[in-house]
């Protein structure tokens, strides 16, 4: 029995900011203080507030330490764990009420509006210890299905819950399962899409790292529901921590008899294997993913036949995303009514978003469907840094679009996002402020899809490339108004004619920025200006004569010698030589250099 638990975040975010060193430091400091038997150190999954990492929580007090460095550990041990005095300077500032009172983490702005279902155990349990998962109702849902429900009843419960696929398209999960269940075959498969590839998205990774057993349990339930005895998790090799924890989880589940032959003496067999993807974006598309599991080159194929009819190895297959699975066990345990009580009419439950970009609280948040973008950005995300103005939010990654400031009060759900030209996607949410150029953003995502297009179909392979070239032309100030119309027509052509979801959605970033920020495109084309000051080719650097003191700092810094002038006299920039690197602006102490 331990009197205190020290939880250290072991998610990818905190690991990259050094949490592994903090764990080692705690272990050695506790050993030195002879507290090894009294205080337990636990490596957990992501707490969500990645911006404040590395994160340490000490129970029973529930003190939330943020931005902890290895040097701070000795102080936490000596003060908090030996003498019982929390180290105030390291506490997350919002939890400190006054000298003696510390607020519970759940009542801080970041956590208060969140509702954690899929992330229930992330940052709460030790993901490498199956018993901690079992303590919090783990594998109870599987046991309930095997002992109390028929497979048909399980499918009905999922159907009644209204759960829709969290990977992006939002197809009803129960319906998908019923199709696969209805097809008779000697072997069926359950697959998990953990090939999270959108730039800026890390929801699935965090679930895998923080609560891997939730995925295992749900896949076994899916197997029972459709009559499959074998499952595959397709995960990208770029997620080493997630892969490792998944391997540990599978081994533990087998050891505890919760996976393998005759689970809980029910006669149901289920086995799971991991397949590593090399990180191709197209392998997140379901048919390409299954082709890749089969050991072939990851390319999509036309549908129908849908995977529920002919999927992996030509057998009926159910393929769901990680977050979708993370909801299953709780729907079984709490009932479909509990789930439908959350969310909007057509989108039930919650959604996890990876908040990134120009936002104070970068991290992972889970909110009920129907929460407005404003609540996510301002209340949970803590607003935009440096007093800048919100310009747009990008959802759905390279397949999604931008939501402009005037639509910030839109309740987020599948249908609302589609209606305004974006999509839910897997849940990346990138916030942009007035310093972001929307043409440049569209170009960024297009560059990504051009690189990731598998090349099997022409509209996607050549169409996205041509689209990218047009965007490049515009950002160089060489575009014409005619190009804008041509671009729009090409967008619709690619959407209508591409083979798979990658090509069908690739033009979305361009279409949505054209729809809401056409004036910015026009500024690039007609005025040859980039209003946000991002597109290099449209910028000019100049020195304001009155402000320049002639200190020569900029001239010495300029790598190409484009700045000339004598000491104590105003300098000038030779725009023909200038490479627009911005070094002079950073150097000038008198704000005498402007870029426009």
């Amino acid at each position: 029995m331990y009197r205190a638990h020290v939880l250290v975040c072991g998610g990818t975010g905190c690991t990259s900011s050094g949490s592994a060193k903090i764990i080692t430091a705690f272990e050695s400091e506790l050993e030195q203080a002879n507290l090894g038997n009294e205080v337990k150190v636990i490596r957990t999954g992501c707490f969500g507030l990645c911006a404040e990492g590395p994160i340490v929580i000490v129970y029973p007090e529930g003190c939330f330490y943020s931005r902890v460095q290895p040097e701070d550990v000795a102080e936490i041990v000596a003060e908090h764990l030996v003498k019982g005095r929390p180290v105030k300077r390291l506490l997350y500032k919002e939890t400190v009420v006054d000298e003696t009172t510390i607020k519970s983490l759940n009542h801080t702005g970041f956590y208060e509006k969140q509702h954690r279902v899929a992330l229930k155990n992330c940052g709460v349990i030790d993901p490498e210890n199956i018993e901690e998962y079992i303590a919090y109702d783990g594998y109870q849902a599987l046991a309930k299905c095997l002992t109390e429900y028929t497979p048909e009843q399980v499918i009905q419960i999922i159907k009644d819950s209204g759960l829709r696929g969290r990977g992006g398209a939002g197809f009803p999960t129960g319906l998908k399962w019923s199709f696969a269940a209805a097809n008779k075959a000697d072997q069926k498969y359950v697959c998990c899409n953990a090939d999270e590839g959108d730039p800026g998205a890390f929801m699935d990774r965090s679930i895998l790292e923080g609560d891997p057993h939730a995925l295992l349990e749900a896949m076994a339930i899916a197997g029972y529901a459709i009559g499959a005895t074998k499952g595959y998790v397709y995960i990208r090799a770029e997620y080493p921590i997630a892969v490792k924890r998944l391997e540990i989880a599978i081994a533990q589940a087998k050891e505890y008899g919760l996976m393998g032959k005759n689970i809980l003496s029910s006669g149901f067999d289920f086995d799971l294997e991991i397949r590593l993807g090399a990180g191709a974006f197209v392998c997140g598309e379901e048919t390409a993913l299954m082709t890749s599991i089969e050991g072939k080159r990851g390319e999509p194929r036309p549908r129908p036949p849908f995977p529920a009819v002919k999927g992996l190895f030509q057998k009926p297959t159910v393929l769901n995303n990680v977050e979708t699975y993370a909801n299953i066990a709780q729907i079984i345990l709490n009932g479909p009514e509990w789930f439908t009580a959350m969310g909007t009419e057509k989108s039930k439950g919650t959604k996890v978003f990876a908040l990134g970009g120009k936002i104070n609280n970068t991290g992972l948040v889970e909110v009920p469907m129907g929460t407005t973008l404003r609540e996510v950005v301002e209340d949970i995300g803590g607003g935009i840094p440096n007093g800048k103005k919100f310009k747009a939010a990008q959802t759905g990654g390279p397949s999604g679009g931008c939501i402009p400031a005037h639509l910030i009060d839109t309740p987020i759900d599948y249908d609302n996002l589609l209606a305004i030209g974006s999509m839910m996607g897997s849940g990346g949410l990138i916030v942009m402020d007035e310093d972001n150029c929307m043409v440049d953003i569209a170009k960024f995502f297009l560059e990504f899809t051009v690189e990731e297009s598998c090349g099997k179909c022409t509209p996607c392979r050549i169409g996205t490339k041509r689209l990218y070239e047009m965007l490049e032309k515009i950002t160089k100030g060489e575009g014409t108004l005619e190009d804008l119309d041509k671009m729009e027509a090409l967008c619709y052509y690619i959407k209508e004619n591409s083979l798979c979801g990658l090509g069908q959605t690739a033009p979305n970033p361009v279409l949505s920025t054209l729809r809401y920020f056409r004036d910015e495109y026009v500024a690039h084309v007609v005025d040859k200006k980039c209003p946000a000051g991002v597109c290099k080719d449209l910028l000019q650097y100049s020195i304001i004569e009155d402000k320049c003191k002639g200190c020569t700092a900029c001239a010495r810094k300029c790598p190409v010698g484009a700045i000339s002038g004598s000491v104590k006299n105003p300098h000038v920039i030779d725009t023909a030589k200038c490479i627009k690197c911005g070094a002079c602006i950073e150097t000038c102490k008198f704000d005498a250099i402007i870029r426009k």
Partner: protein, 123 residues
């Protein structure tokens, strides 16, 4: 694991080790003074004894924690018990032997062990 009963038993056992992480659940806090004076007077075995006793009795709503010098060094080891809605009780000159009785009578049954309290000691 072959049966549902085994899974349930394992859950109950595992949950006990995790109760500490619910910072809302504790309605009773046993706080041991662990400054230099307390440690020198033998606070550590007292703290360990409380932790073990609470674990043995599977008390989910009791947290054992430590604090610095309470200010009455001559009475160390000092233990304070906070229960929601009740006045704080201060036990002084504690030893590990006294722990079981305090847990049984005070923590579980709500009867303060008056003879160990500071009131009885200073009389």
């Amino acid at each position: 694991m072959k049966t549902l009963e085994e899974l349930k038993a394992l859950k109950a056992k595992a949950l006990q080790n995790m109760g500490i992480r619910d910072d809302q659940a504790a309605t009773t806090r046993i706080v041991v003074g662990m400054a230099t004076c307390g440690i020198a007077a033998g606070a550590r075995p007292v703290l360990t004894a409380f932790t073990e006793e609470v674990a043995k009795r599977q008390l989910q709503d009791v947290a054992v924690s430590q604090t610095g010098c309470i200010g009455i060094c001559q009475y160390e080891p000092v233990v304070e018990v906070f229960r929601t809605g009740e006045e704080k009780v201060t036990y002084v000159k504690m030893t590990a032997d006294k722990v079981a009785r305090i847990v049984a009578e005070h923590i579980v049954n709500g009867n303060v062990v008056t003879e160990y309290t500071i009131g009885a000691c200073t009389k």
